[in-house]
């Protein structure tokens, strides 16, 4: 289907199902129950899940295939966001031009950064990209304030020119829309104790994510994708096979930069504001983590990684002391206090601690990420099954 083989079509369909059914899947607990706080089926979070999925899918095309570790991809996401918000200020609140322009600008910026950074490889490349991203962040915060809004950031206002849209009355807030369909349109579906939210913005983001994912599969399975894996494997042989590695890596860099820009544009489309902090280098580190956690170089890994991290971030940050007290209430008082003291540093505001630990644990024990973990478990089961079969077989003649 769509020029994919059976296995890839299967993966695409699984991701499509997960994305489209997310309002159900992420809301497994009935409203008002103690577990309801683990529900993630509200639009804001679901949107972020798929948007960061796009970011990670793009990053994976660079890091997963070529092995070039960029520590500055948040800069492209930021550039995309700023471009999108300016389209909304100047042209129209329709998200289509905003998203197109965000991809375009991020692409151009990544072409410039990539063209310079890719003259070096290894650690030098990582540091160059980091330097560029930090430079962009510093500029966005200071000199470029007229364009970026500096510390306060930017958002569309009622008195922006917006040449394609009609003028708004004072106090009216401009809303992002897709040809009139507003991003925060939607409806709630109540089934018994469950309430499922269907949100226009989420579904638009999800469809864009599916297209982005489909394109990434095509790239993985193309001769170009094979060349990128060859770059990672042995640059020397590439050169002595008459292949110029520079345009290949640059193309991968720009593609991943455009994915980042797309994610940045979508972020603005869903929540019409932007600040420089989304370009900070920890944001670049986060997308690296998503990709690795899921499984760098695998198709579905980055999607899983992004989903996992954003979900965990949201849930873990929400747990506070009283929630913990509720959980451990069944324990005797002394033990309860100890348990709370032990767990408390890792939840709520301690999310970054958990994130850092997760980062280390994954790199140390599971360099292939969740996908590798899944494969190992699958192999274990299969191995067990296979050995069962052989014992069965050896028994049979004896009978």
């Amino acid at each position: 289907m769509f020029g994919l083989n059976k296995k890839d079509t299967g993966i695409l369909l699984v991701v499509a199902f997960l994305a489209l059914a997310a309002p159900f899947i992420l809301n497994p607990f009935p409203e008002g129950s103690a577990m309801a706080q683990f529900n993630a089926g509200y639009p804001d979070l679901m949107q972020r899940l798929v948007i960061f999925g796009i970011f990670a899918i793009g990053f994976n095309i660079l890091f997963g295939l070529t092995g070039y570790l960029s520590f500055g991809h948040a800069a492209f996401l930021g550039v995309g966001s700023y471009a999108a918000i300016w389209m909304m200020k100047l042209l129209t609140m329709n998200v289509v031009p905003a998203i197109i322009v965000s991809v375009l600008f991020a692409g151009l910026f990544s072409l410039l950064v990539g063209w310079i950074s890719l003259r070096r490889s290894g650690i030098y490349f990582s540091i160059l990209t980091l330097a560029f991203a930090q430079m962009s962040y510093a500029l966005a915060y200071s000199v470029l304030t007229p364009i970026t809004g500096g510390e306060t950031g930017l958002q569309p206002k009622y008195d922006d020119p917006r040449i394609l849209d009609g003028t708004l009355e004072a106090g009216q807030s401009p809303r992002a829309n897709l040809f009139g369909l507003e991003m925060n349109d939607g409806f709630e579906l109540a089934m018994g104790n469950w309430v499922f939210t269907f949100n226009a913005g989420y579904y638009i983001a999800a469809v864009v994510m599916l297209i982005a994912f489909y394109l990434s599969i095509r790239i993985f399975r193309s001769p170009f994708g094979m060349m990128l894996r060859a770059v990672k494997s042995n640059q020397q042989r590439m050169n002595y096979t008459g292949l110029n590695t520079k345009p290949y890596t640059l193309a991968a860099f720009v593609i991943s930069g455009m994915y980042a820009g797309l994610a940045g544009g979508l972020l603005v489309a869903m929540d019409t504001q932007v600040g420089a902090e989304r370009m900070f280098w920890t944001a670049s580190g986060e997308v690296v983590l998503m990709t690795i956690l899921g499984g760098a170089g695998t198709l579905i890994g980055p999607v899983l990684g992004a989903g996992f991290i954003k979900y965990m971030e949201n849930i873990v940050s929400k747990i506070n002391k009283s929630v913990l007290e509720q959980w451990f209430a069944f324990m005797p008082d002394g033990i309860e206090d100890v348990m709370i003291a032990l767990v408390y540093p890792f939840v709520g505001k301690g999310w970054h601690l958990t994130l850092g630990l997760l980062f280390m644990l994954v790199v140390i024990f599971l360099p292939g990420g969740l996908v590798e973990g899944g494969q190992r478990i699958a192999k274990m089961f299969r191995g067990k099954k296979a050995s069962d079969d052989t014992t069965d077989a050896s028994k049979t003649p004896a009978e």
Partner: protein
């Protein structure tokens, strides 16, 4: 007719004169061996031919065109392929993919943005890669990850990858270094077969005299960065200068 002409090539590293004044002509469709003791400048010379190093003086002409100042991939596209001392293959890729990459390089040149085409649709590339694998008796291993093959198979694959580009000149840098005797003999047979079946010029750097005398039509002896003598294998064997500089090693090896 010389396909490769090396004229007055010199290369200096700091205080060390690695190549003095090298003149060398390699005739088309011949097998030319370059021998010499360690540190004679063999590898430096080879690196000057493929664009890894640029000589300080002199010229290197391939088929009437200068290779100097060109990048390795450009020189390769001119028709020079190189086999390394330790096999350089794409270890993370499987054998079939390893084989397809030079086929793409031959067909599409140094870069082509075929990002939305599917590998499965590239029937001519697949056919050619499979044909090469059959030729090289590697077809059974087509799905195997290249890094997990034996050393002999890696060497075979690397040579196959070079040949898939139909190069006019094949450079071999100690192709049997570190190989067991059986693998060495297999490699000699393979190279002999290639020499007979294809219109190809081979230049080989080698330590193993057995390999050199079984394959080459002409031999250049290099010592301290300058060619000592160049002649046919029979003459080289009896050459007094060569005996003096080098023969101890020949007898040892034999």
């Amino acid at each position: 007719m010389a396909i490769l002409e090396v004229k007055n090539v010199g290369k200096r590293f700091g205080g060390l004169q690695a190549l003095g004044d090298v003149n060398l002509n390699i005739a088309e469709n011949s097998c030319h061996a370059i021998i010499g003791p360690n540190g004679a400048g063999k590898s430096t010379l080879l690196n000057c031919l493929v664009g890894k190093l640029t000589p300080d003086t002199g010229s290197v002409m391939f088929d009437g065109q200068s290779v100097l100042g060109r990048k390795p991939y450009e020189i390769n596209q001119m028709g020079i392929s190189r086999v390394f001392q330790t096999p350089e293959i794409f270890g993370d890729l499987n054998v079939m993919e390893n084989m397809m990459i030079p086929c793409f390089a031959k067909r599409d040149g140094a870069f082509r943005m075929h990002a939305l085409e599917s590998i499965g649709q590239e029937r001519d590339i697949i056919a050619k890669a499979e044909e090469m694998l059959v030729d090289m008796k590697l077809i059974d291993k087509r799905e195997m990850q290249a890094s997990s093959m034996s050393r002999g198979d890696k060497r075979r694959l690397e040579i196959a990858m070079c040949l898939a580009q139909d190069p006019r000149l094949l450079l071999l840098d100690e192709p049997t270094a570190g190989m067991a005797r059986a693998d060495t003999n297999n490699t000699i047979d393979l190279l002999k077969q290639i020499k007979e079946e294809r219109d190809i010029t081979i230049a080989i750097i080698e330590h193993d005299m057995h390999v050199v005398f079984s394959l080459s039509d002409r031999i250049t002896v290099l010592a301290q960065g300058t060619p000592l003598v160049e002649d046919t294998p029979d003459k080289i064997k009896g050459h007094p200068k060569v005996r003096e500089a080098y023969l101890g090693e020949i007898q040892e090896a034999a």
